[in-house]
């Protein structure tokens, strides 16, 4: 190491490496949800033996989790980037109804899909551009939610559009034994994760969610990343709408706010902070899988599904408690080591 300045560069210090205990706590905080999921799987495997631990059931769980996962990806990207996008159900409903209308009027399947996804992108752009004017994103997206669910009912004539069999290839159709939605989720999450953690724009987007000022002062236009977050969120919403439609082969104009809350539960389980700037898509995926695992396991045991909701709620409360405790412990540990190094360090 050659210091260009006249003063010699300080020697690398053991304090530059985090203590093992702290690293372990950080591991639990960042990866704890994976451990939790594995524990759940093991628990159900024993309890619901022999029906739970089978390949068929695993595929069932993955399939059940896929819708939640797609919407949760949209919600998570919005939150990470600094905005809770509540218009997701509206986008999903309008996108799928538009696709349904096009298909019933004899348009090719791909035009319907492209149109629906474009709806998602456009809704995201509109949400983002309005939110940039300084309006609260929650209120803005409540507005677009209302507009979109109204429009969906208008173009669908107020009724569900049945008979959309052309979409089964992304619904119930299986490829290599795995249903289409699972493949879609896999692709979405791989792309999303790579984008958020490996690319310049993704990292900047997360940074904008964490501290807009920091990014702006670095001479970057933070606004475009806010809009990008809404666009990705809208895209996921439209994709989720399409997959829903494909699964039930009909397009429902009713925007169900329930999907937002299920998605939010998965996102919160994944430890995505609602204040933005942090979170990871793999954890969100596991969050969605945990919800599906619990309801699947309880169903196998013949327990009323209400218990699934209750257990999920308890897990969520436990998860935030654990996170809080870990964060507090880590900062306490680090403060002691920082003080130690300040007195044993530079001189």
């Amino acid at each position: 190491m050659t210091g260009t300045a006249s003063t010699a560069a300080p020697t690398r210090n053991p304090a530059d490496v985090d203590p093992a205990g702290v690293r372990w706590l950080i591991f639990v905080r960042d990866r704890g949800i994976f451990v939790l999921w594995v524990l759940l799987l093991l628990g159900f495997s024993v309890w619901a033996n022999p029906y739970f631990a089978s390949l068929d059931n695993a595929i069932l769980i993955a399939n059940a989790a896929s819708l939640t996962a797609i919407f949760a990806a949209g919600v998570a990207v919005g939150i990470i980037c600094g905005a809770l996008d509540l218009s997701i159900p509206g986008t999903a409903a309008f996108g799928s109804c538009l696709c349904g209308v096009l298909l019933t009027h004899g348009w090719p399947t791909w035009t319907g899909i492209v149109a629906a996804l474009l709806v998602g992108v456009v809704v995201g752009l509109v949400n983002g551009l309005i939110a940039l004017r300084g309006f609260n994103p929650i209120v803005v997206t409540i507005g677009t939610l209302s507009v979109l669910s109204g429009l969906a009912a208008v173009i669908a004539g107020g009724y569900t559009i049945p008979g959309l069999d052309a979409l089964t290839f992304m619904g119930t159709q299986r490829y290599a034994g795995v249903p289409g939605p699972v493949w879609i989720v896999a692709a979405l999450f791989v792309l999303g994760t790579v984008f958020l953690t490996r690319t310049r724009d993704g990292i900047r987007m997360m940074a904008v969610g964490g501290n807009r000022e920091a990014v702006r002062r670095s001479g970057i236009h933070s606004d475009r990343y806010t809009v990008l977050g809404f666009v990705i969120s809208g895209f996921c919403a439209a994709l989720g709408g399409l997959v829903t439609t494909a699964l039930v082969t009909e397009a429902n104009p009713e925007a169900s706010p329930g999907i937002i809350f299920t998605a939010l539960t998965a996102v919160a389980l994944a430890g995505v902070s609602l204040s933005g700037g942090r979170g990871s898509l793999p954890r969100v995926l596991v969050g969605a899988l945990i919800l599906a695992t619990i309801s699947n396991g309880l169903t196998i045991k013949g327990i009323q599904p209400y218990w699934g909701t209750t257990v999920t709620g308890l897990l969520l409360l436990g998860a935030i408690g654990l996170e809080k405790w870990i964060s507090a412990t880590v900062s306490r540990r680090l403060v002691t080591t920082a003080q130690a190094s300040a007195h044993t360090g530079t001189r």
Binding site: G3, P10, R200, D201, I203, A214, R217, S218, G277
Partner: protein, 246 residues
């Protein structure tokens, strides 16, 4: 410079040389921070001019001043808490991977960490592992990271200017010493530094020259070696008449 009807700065003329550390002193409301914000492009002066290397410039936003080689360290540090030190230092000047992945915008994390560590070493500051998230740093360490972020973006050879607003306000003794040394080292590399502070001992230690503001007017402009605490306090409080005839 006016804020509505308040005349925050009035007929002030300040200049700073490459390699010089200029201290801006004054009581609360004297106009120190306003002057700094004018220099950084955050505020536009009502009238008056800014010259960078003799060239007349107009800043309509902080990014304009960034292009002119001026960097500001704010009191609120504006770091991205969830990201690590290396990422915080790299925002806006990421290293992309070589080859097709780079064209897709893929970031070379390894190279960024290496560069961040090298830059921190060159600045002679020790914080923590560059992979540590900023939220896990102490207040002093954060201050050092924020300072380093700006310091790595100015360079003496290109005539950079570094503006610092109360850089040691939240720091303990040890960290203050580190920041002082860092400022001196930057000045040694030819960076012009402007330092706003309430901390007289710090100003006496670090600055080559001191400018005192009182109610928006410049009342003193002296080399540090030719003044002392008593004189400065007099100018700051207004007990001592201005060096410049009214």
């Amino acid at each position: 410079m006016h804020y509505g009807f308040v005349r925050a700065l009035d007929g002030i003329d300040v200049h700073v040389q490459p390699g010089e550390v200029l201290g801006l002193l004054g009581d609360n409301g004297a106009g120190k921070s306003t002057l700094l914000k004018v220099m950084s492009g955050a505020h536009r002066p009502t009238n008056g001019t800014i010259l960078v290397h003799g060239e007349d410039v107009v800043f309509s936003s902080p990014s304009d001043s960034t292009h002119a080689g001026i960097q500001m360290v704010y009191q609120d540090l504006a770091l991205v808490d969830a990201q690590d030190i290396a990422t915080n230092l790299s925002v806006g000047r990421e290293i992309l991977r070589k080859g097709p992945l780079g064209w897709l915008g893929f970031v070379d994390h390894k190279a960024q960490r290496k560069r961040a560590q090298a830059e921190l070493d060159r600045l002679g500051v020790r914080t923590a592992a560059v992979t540590r998230p900023v939220e896990m740093l102490s207040g002093g360490q954060r201050q050092v990271v924020a300072l380093a972020r700006s310091a790595t973006r100015v360079s003496g050879d290109r005539g950079g200017v570094l503006l610092l607003d109360e850089p040691t306000a939240a720091l303990g003794y040890e960290q203050t010493q580190q920041v002082q040394a860092l400022i001196r080292r930057l000045a040694g590399n030819g960076v012009a530094c402007v330092l706003v502070t309430h901390n007289l001992p710090l100003a006496m230690d670090v600055c080559d020259r001191l400018v005192v503001l009182n109610r928006g007017r410049k009342v003193a402009d002296v080399p540090t070696a030719q003044t002392d605490d008593d004189q400065l306090v007099g100018w700051i409080t207004g007990a001592r008449p201005s060096m410049f005839a009214a």
